[in-house]
C-alpha cells in the first residue's frame, strides 16, 4: 500500500490518515506520506496511460487505497504549445497548461474532487470551504453532483460572476464582511465547532494532494519529459509547492529523469507577501492587506509561504510581483497570442513570464510551461474598457465609413 500516514512537514511526527491538518507537537502543517518503493516505473507508466481521462489516472500517487468513485472529475486539461506568445517575448518554447478547461473552469476541481472523496470516505456528510471564488465554484458543484450539503464562505466583495457561478449549484453562500484572511480565520474557528469537512482546513492535507496532478499532467503531456521552468501563480503557495512535489515523486519513482524545473512564482503587487519576502531574503512572510484586481490570489497571510520561498530559492527560480496594469496587459497578451482567455490570476502568470523574459532570466533555449489556473469569463471586469467596439448603422456605407476602410473592390 502506497499511502502511509499524515506526516508533519516541520518535525516529522506521524498521524493516522484522518481529518487532521496541524501537528499537535509544533503546529506545523501535515502532509500525506507515501511509500513508492514498490512502484516499477515501466509498469506504472503503462497503468497511467491506460487509466481514466481524469486525475484518477495518477491514483498511485493520491491518498486512497483504491481510486474512489466520484460524481464529478477533473484534470486532463490541454497543454498547448504557444509559439506566438514565445515569439512575442523572444523565447523559443513556451507551453500553456490551460486548467480553465476543468468542470468549473479552474484548477480547484482537482483539489476538490480529492478532498470530497476523502471527506466521504471519512464519513462526513457536509463540506465547506473558505474561498476567494474559484474554490467556492468547485465545492458547490462537486457537492451538488455528489448529493452532499455544502457551505461556502467568501469575502463579501468577490466578483459577481464568481458568486453567481457558485449559488447556482444550490449551496449555501455565506458572504463574510472582511478579507479572505478573515474568512479563513473564521472557517478555522468553525471547523473546531462543527463536524464538517472544510476542504482547505481540516482535510487540507488531502485537498492539496490534488494539485500534484497538474505537475504529473505537464510531464506526461510532454512525453514523460521535464520542462526547464514552470511559472505558477501564488496565493497560499500550495499549488506552487505541490506541482514541484509531484514532479519530485516522479523523479524518485523513475518515471522521468532529471531535475525539478526552475520554479517561478507569480503574485500581484497588491498582495505580494511571498514575493516581498523573496526579494528581502526572508524565510517567512509578513502578512499584508490585499488590494488587487487579482482577487483569486488575494491571500495576505499565505499558509505555505515559507515552503514556496524555500522551493523558489532551491530550484534557482524567483517569486515576482506584477501591477494591476501589467495583469490586464497579461490577460490581453495571452488572449491575443493563444486564443486563451484567462482570469486575473492567469494575467499575473503571463505578466510574470513577460517580466522574466524581459529581465533576461530565461535562456532562449529553455522549454517553459506557464500554468493558467482559471477562466476569463469569471473576471470580466478586468478587461472592461480595454478595447473599443465600432458601432455602425446596418449599411455597407456606414461600415466602411466608421471603420475607415476603402470600398471593397
Amino acid at each position: 500500500m502506497a499511502v502511509e500516514a499524515l506526516r508533519c512537514k516541520e518535525c516529522g511526527a506521524t498521524y493516522a490518515l484522518e481529518a487532521r491538518y496541524v501537528c499537535d507537537n509544533c503546529f506545523g502543517p501535515l502532509e500525506v506520506a507515501y511509500d513508492f518503493s514498490d512502484l516499477d516505473p515501466l509498469e506504472t507508466r503503462r497503468k497511467i496511460q491506460a487509466g481514466p481521462r481524469s486525475i484518477w489516472r495518477y491514483s498511485d500517487f493520491l491518498p486512497f487505497d483504491r481510486p474512489p468513485r466520484t460524481a464529478l472529475d477533473a484534470g486532463t486539461t490541454p497543454l498547448v504549445r504557444a509559439d506566438r506568445l514565445a515569439e512575442r517575448l523572444g523565447l523559443r518554447e513556451v507551453w500553456v497548461k490551460n486548467d480553465a478547461a476543468n468542470p468549473t473552469h479552474s484548477f480547484k476541481d482537482r483539489v476538490v474532487t480529492v478532498a470530497l472523496a476523502k471527506a466521504l470516505e471519512l464519513g462526513f456528510d457536509t463540506v465547506a470551504c473558505a474561498s476567494t471564488g474559484n474554490l467556492a465554484n468547485a465545492v458547490a458543484a462537486h457537492a451538488a453532483a455528489a448529493g452532499v450539503d455544502s457551505y461556502v464562505f467568501i469575502p463579501a466583495d468577490l466578483e459577481e460572476q464568481k458568486v453567481l457561478a457558485t449559488g447556482v449549484y444550490g449551496t449555501r453562500v455565506v458572504a463574510v464582511e472582511g478579507s479572505y484572511d478573515d474568512v479563513n480565520r473564521l472557517c478555522m474557528e468553525l471547523s473546531a465547532e462543527r463536524d464538517w469537512a472544510f476542504v482547505n482546513v481540516n482535510v487540507r492535507p488531502y485537498y492539496s494532494e490534488g494539485s500534484k496532478t497538474l505537475g504529473y499532467e505537464i510531464v506526461e503531456q510532454l512525453g514523460f519529459e521535464l520542462p526547464d521552468r514552470i511559472v505558477v501563480p501564488i496565493a497560499s503557495g500550495s499549488l506552487f509547492t505541490k506541482i514541484a512535489r509531484g514532479i519530485e515523486e516522479w523523479i524518485e519513482v523513475g518515471l522521468v529523469h532529471g531535475e525539478v524545473p526552475v520554479m517561478n512564482g507569480a503574485q500581484a503587487a497588491g498582495c505580494a507577501p511571498v514575493a516581498t519576502a523573496f526579494a528581502e531574503g526572508h524565510e517567512i512572510c509578513r502578512p499584508v492587506r490585499p488590494s488587487t484586481i487579482a482577487k483569486s490570489l488575494a491571500i495576505g497571510n499565505p499558509a505555505d509561504g515559507p515552503y514556496a520561498l524555500e522551493l523558489a530559492r532551491k530550484s534557482g527560480g524567483s517569486i515576482d510581483a506584477v501591477t494591476d496594469d501589467e495583469i490586464r496587459a497579461g490577460i490581453r497578451l495571452l488572449a491575443e497570442t493563444t486564443g486563451i482567455f484567462t482570469e486575473t490570476a492567469g494575467g499575473v502568470t503571463t505578466a510574470t513570464l513577460a517580466k522574466l523574459a524581459e529581465r533576461g532570466d530565461i535562456d532562449p533555449g529553455e522549454r517553459v510551461v506557464i500554468v493558467i489556473t482559471g477562466e476569463g469569463l469569471k473576471t470580466l471586469d478586468a478587461v472592461r474598457a480595454t478595447f473599443e467596439t465600432d458601432v455602425i448603422e446596418p449599411t455597407v456605407a456606414s461600415f466602411e465609413r466608421t471603420l475607415g476602410l476603402a470600398q471593397a473592390a
Binding site: N25, C26, R185, V201
Partner: protein, 91 residues
C-alpha cells in the same frame, strides 16, 4: 482587568479541555501568553520557540493578526479577546 483567550482544539489537551480562559493583569499579548504558560504545563513548547511564536502559529487580538499590530508587545485591554490559531489553512 481580564482578557479572554480562545484556545484552538489542537491545544486543548494541555488546557484540560478548556476552549476559553481568562487571564488577569496582563497589558500585552506577550504577558497574556506568559500567564497561560504559567497555568498550563507544556503549552510554551507547543507554540513558542526561542522566545518567539513558532512560524505556524497565528495570534489575533479582537480578530486582528498581531503581526499587523505590535506583535507580542501589542497592548490588550479589559474585555479584549485573544485568539490562538494554527496558520496552515486556506488557499
Amino acid at each position: 482587568m481580564a482578557v479572554t483567550v480562545k484556545i484552538p482544539t489542537q491545544l486543548r489537551n494541555v488546557t484540560g479541555g478548556e476552549a476559553e480562559t481568562q487571564v488577569e493583569d496582563a497589558s500585552t499579548v506577550g504577558e497574556v501568553l506568559d500567564g497561560l504558560y504559567e497555568r498550563y504545563d507544556g503549552l510554551r513548547e507547543r507554540i513558542a520557540e526561542d522566545g518567539d511564536l513558532r512560524r505556524f502559529v497565528n495570534v489575533y487580538v479582537q480578530g486582528e493578526d498581531i503581526r499587523f499590530l505590535d506583535g507580542l508587545d501589542t497592548p490588550v485591554e479589559d474585555g479584549d479577546e485573544v485568539t490562538i490559531l494554527p496558520a496552515v489553512a486556506g488557499g
